[in-house]
Symmetry: C2
């Protein structure tokens, strides 16, 4: 759980006992390419830290899969509002490659929130950072061209292009696979 430990220490200063207590609430899980971490229609009862691999979040609209986000190592993934409020979730979360995850269940998470103040602090930071990240993509979506978004993604997450089918990447930046193919060509 080294990676998760580092991720937490990067955000909050915390003593080893608390840290170990938090880590012990997580369970290792491996899922194979094509497996689902979460399915549309289910309640989301868990959150995952991605140790290795890629997962994508998508929804199907008029027969087409729209990939909203692709999570990579070092990030958390869950269906946030369903996880928090136990409302019906509409996202699918599918492993794009074989993945190693550290998974925490809802009960453990909320128990930690009450018993380990540092976990609550970490959770808040996680939320705020996720919000800022989303804000940034949304803003880009509002005023940039497909080419600019492609270039930015290429610069910031080049590994994505090696491991994730291009059609998912295209969808994530709001274009068709054909358009992405043309952008790559030039």
């Amino acid at each position: 759980m080294e990676a998760l430990k580092k991720c937490i220490l990067k955000q909050v200063s915390i003593n080893l006992i608390s840290l170990e207590n938090i880590l012990s609430a997580f369970e290792c899980a491996e899922i194979k390419k094509g497996d689902y971490f979460l399915r549309s229609g289910d309640l989301c009862r868990k959150m995952a830290f991605i140790q290795t691999g890629y997962l994508r979040m998508y929804d199907t609209v008029q027969g087409k899969e729209i990939t909203f986000w692709i999570g990579s190592s070092g990030r958390f993934i869950t269906s946030l509002s369903s996880f928090v409020f136990q409302t019906r979730n509409f996202w699918n979360i599918e492993a794009v490659t074989d993945c190693k995850l550290y998974v925490i269940g809802r009960e453990n998470h909320f128990h930690l929130c009450k018993t380990e103040p540092k976990w609550l602090e970490f959770d808040n930071a996680l939320l705020a950072h996720s919000f800022a990240l989303l804000e940034r993509s949304m803003f880009a979506q509002l005023h940039t061209t497909a080419r600019q978004r492609f270039d930015t993604l290429m610069a910031e997450e080049p590994e994505l292009f090696h491991y994730v089918p291009l059609q998912y990447i295209a969808s994530m930046i709001g274009i068709t696979p054909e358009s992405l193919s043309r952008l790559r060509k030039n």
Copy 2:
């Protein structure tokens, strides 16, 4: 502060003493059309509940103002990550009409988080709801046409079109004022 009270009660069950304690951390503020609640470059030290009026969040890119969001009565507005982490903020928050606000400072907010568990609970819900809202707009941005986004906004927030300059609305759904004008024509 009736509106704010209702907003809180809608999210969490809370006793009157705590509720009054929370409300007393807010101050009334009136700002005139054109005034700024926050300017790009500043640290964001406060968060506002909008009692009446409209405010827009925007940033300037290559000489053009891009409106990211328009807040209306019953909603909170702040530059989230700057408010939370005290990082340099890049959003401008400007009153589009005269506004009545209830404002809470950062110190008061974090003090309440420690002393009034219900405020923390409310804050978490607020964050999660904001995230879900943003998620939804972003998703729409990925797979819908300008016309669809226009129709949706028209159906969900028709008042916006009465009180907010169309150029800001256009920007918020990722199109030019000219395009919005054409959509409105048909």
